[in-house]
Structures are given as structure tokens and as C-alpha cells.
Amino acid sequence: MSFGEFWFGTADVLLPMERVIGVAEGVALYEEKQIIFEKGQLKLTNQRLIFVGAQVYFMNLDRILKVSFDAGSWTKSEKILVAVSSDLTFRLSFRAGGCKEVLTKLEAALRAKEWCYGVARKGYGIGVGGIQKKLQMQAQQTELHISSAFEDLSNLMASAKEMVELSQRLMLKSKDKGLTDDETAQFRSQLLSIGLQNSEGPANPSDNQLQQEIGRVLLPAVEASSGIISLTEAYCRVNRARGLKLLSPEDLLAALEGMRHPVKLYTFASGLRVVQLSSLDEVAWMDKIVSLLEETGCLGAEQLATRLKTSAVLALERLLQVEADSRACRDESINGLVFYPNKFLTGAS
């Protein structure tokens, strides 16, 4: 057995899945005590030992039986003894140092035995490259999921269209067979509850049901906030009550627009829209604010909001309304906007 059985000539390139884990310069290679190469570069990879001198030779790590360390002396460099059989040992002499480092890595590589599965293993590999590959794979997977999800969605929409058509056909037939309005309404409401709305056709009777529901949910809230709440709050409350069957803001608005009782949509002069108690008496309301103003002397929007248990925005709208009705007047100062009873018109008393 000799050198040629273990070391093979090669080009200085790495194999697939191979990576360099250690490099040392100024290394000499001995077969037993006989020098074979002087002064080369030793590369340790996860699969091979590569000796880059005038020529490039490599030895697969799986040929190594045992490695040991020769500490050397002040005339001899440190060495790694690489036993490949019971009677053949290669010596790597590290004349420019770095022996310990390479030894540690070599031992680790021998333990890891990456050559066993390095190439064949199906995976992302190790290190930064591996992470990159893994992320790439994940991105591809996600893309796949998304596109298939959209496919599902368009399929769903297509079938929804069919169902609306079907419902219309059924409706026509049901009329011939003398189905009562109640049953038709129930059918429609069932369709609506699964999110299918007949955009054309007559006003949806199930709107009624939705409106009833909205009324039921909002009434206590509106009553608790002095008869008026913001659209945002209404939206949140309705959807909290509905749980999973969420209502879109557009649908809520549309339903509210058609409502007269027990709550209704109200638009302030500023354009702000709110949900208001239908039974709310505008005049009585303004009287209440005016009397509050007279009682306290003056009120800012925040203070009024606290007293009425409503939001500052709504309180301000109310105050502006009273002002527009000539029953309040404003004081703008560094302390903000404050409203007073309109003493200009009522006199100093």
C-alpha cells in the first residue's frame, strides 16, 4: 500500500455539497518518514483533504482510520498523523503553524461523516447556502398556496354566481306554485346569511332582518351614550355581536340608511354621520345642552362629552348645532374652543 492508493490527482475544484472548513499554508506531506510534497496548501473540506502544491491531490476523509497529533519540538514542526491502515500513516507537517486548528476541524469532520450522506441527502444543506435554499423553498411553497387559494376563490365566486341564478329561478318557480312571501323572505335571508346578495331585483326582504338585528344590538349602546354613537362604534358593536358572520362597513351603512326605527342614520351639518336614536327629540336635546351650558357657565367639547357619556367629536357636533341655532356662542382662546350660553341674544341676565 502506498501514496497512490489513497491520494488522487484532481483539479482544484469542490464537489457538489462540499465546502472548505479549514485551510493551512506551508504544509508538507510525508508518507511515513518520506517527504512527498513540500510547501503546499492544505484544504480541509467536509469530504476531503486536498493538498494544493505544484499539483493538486486529494484523499477522501472516509479513508482515514485515525488521526493523532505530534507536538514536534523546536526543530520539528507540529504534525498531524493520519493513519489510513494498520501499517500506513501520512504525516502532515505544519511548518507555518495552524496545526491544532486543522486537527480540531478534521476530528470534527470525521465525527460528522458528512460524506456519507452529504451528496445523496435530500435537503437544504448546511450553512448560509442551506438557509437560503430553505427560504427559497418556503417562498415557492407559499406562492403555490396563495395561487391555489385564489383559484379556490375564483371558483367560489363562479359558483356563487350560479347559486344566485339558481335562487332567482327557484324564486320564479316558487311564485307559480304559490309560495308565501314569508317563505320567500326566509329563503332570501338564508342566501344572505351565506353572503350571497341579489344586487338586482327588488329590495331585499332580508335587509329587514338585518336591520332588526342591528337595531337590537345598537339600541342599548345608543341609549347608554345619550342617544347617539359614531358609525365606527356602531360597526364594532354590530360585528362583535355577529361573531363570525362579519358585516362589511358598506353593508352596515346600506342597512342603516334604510332604517327608521329604533335607530337611524343622522348627518350633522359638518357631514359627520352618526347613529342616532329615532325617538331622540332634537329640540329637547338642544334644550338639555343649553341648560347644561347655563348651569356650568361654559363647556368645552370634552367636558360635555364626559357629562353626556359620549365622544368628544359627537359632543362638539352637538355644540356646533346649538351654536348654529343661535343658542350658544364660542370663545376661542389658547385654552381651546369653549361654548357659552348665547348672552348676546338673551342679554346679561
Binding site: E323, C329, S333, F344, L345
Partner: protein, 173 residues
Amino acid sequence: MSGFTWPWEYSFPPFFTVQPNSTTRAKQMDSWTSLICAYCQFHKITILNLGDAEASDLFNNKTLKRKLSSDAVLEVAQYMTDNGKAQWLDGQNSILVLWRSLEEWAKLLHDFAIEAGLTNSVCTLFELVQGDDTTKEEFYGLDIRVLKVFLKCLEEQGRAELIGDDEGVKFFV
């Protein structure tokens, strides 16, 4: 400023904010007009310089920490001139506050002239407002510019004539 009684509005903070409601604003402007007239009459002021309005306690209530902004002062001035309670002077830098109407001032001057037997003779404007014979008269100490406005009013009525380079006046019966 001893003696002057401020109206209740002066200690009412909204008085110093121009009210957006037109009905309220009209009332507010009326209140300002009467306050300015009363104030000027009390202090015998006829010319109000709008440039330093903020310095005057008329527009700046220091105890209340409220003052009428310069824009608002101009708005009040405009309202007053529109309603015959003031006249613009020097462009729009100051106003002649008419706490007594133009006609009343004119009559006052004319009555004095007749009583003093000055009709058909010429007297200087300076004489009228600074002369020894007029110290007891209401128009004593008036700004010459203001006096001219009043005399022009008389001139239009045909009861006086400004003479020379508006430095003298001749009263008619």
C-alpha cells in the same frame, strides 16, 4: 381708566371671538359698536388708531386674558362705518368714531357760530378747536382732520364754506 363702566360683554369671553353664527355676530358687532362709542365719548376720543388697538384696554381685557384680534378689530371697524358709526381715516389705519352723529356735530358747530356772531365772517379752523373763545365748547381740542369732516358736512348742507387751502371757514345763517 377710572370712571368708565365697562358693559357686561367686556367680561364675557365670547365677546372677543368673532362669532360664526350671523345672527349672533350681528348682535356682537352691535355690542362692540356701543362699547367703542361709549368708551370714546367717555374719554373724548374721536380718532381710534387701529394699528395699536391691541395695546388699548378697549380691545384687550387683561384681567380676562382675552383680546380682539387685529382682523376682528378691522371687522368691527367695517361694521361701524357701514352703520354710520364711524368713518375711515388715513386709508384704513384709523377710524373717526362718531359717538355723536355727523349731523349733530355739524349742528353743534353751526349753533356756536350763530351764537358767537361769526356768520359771514371767516375764522380759521385752528381758532375753532384751539382758540380762547371755544375752550368751553364740545368741539374744543378736536383734531383738525375731524373738524374738517364736520365742516364738510355743513358745507354740503350749504351752511358753511371752507376757504383757502381748507384752513378757514365761513359760516352762513
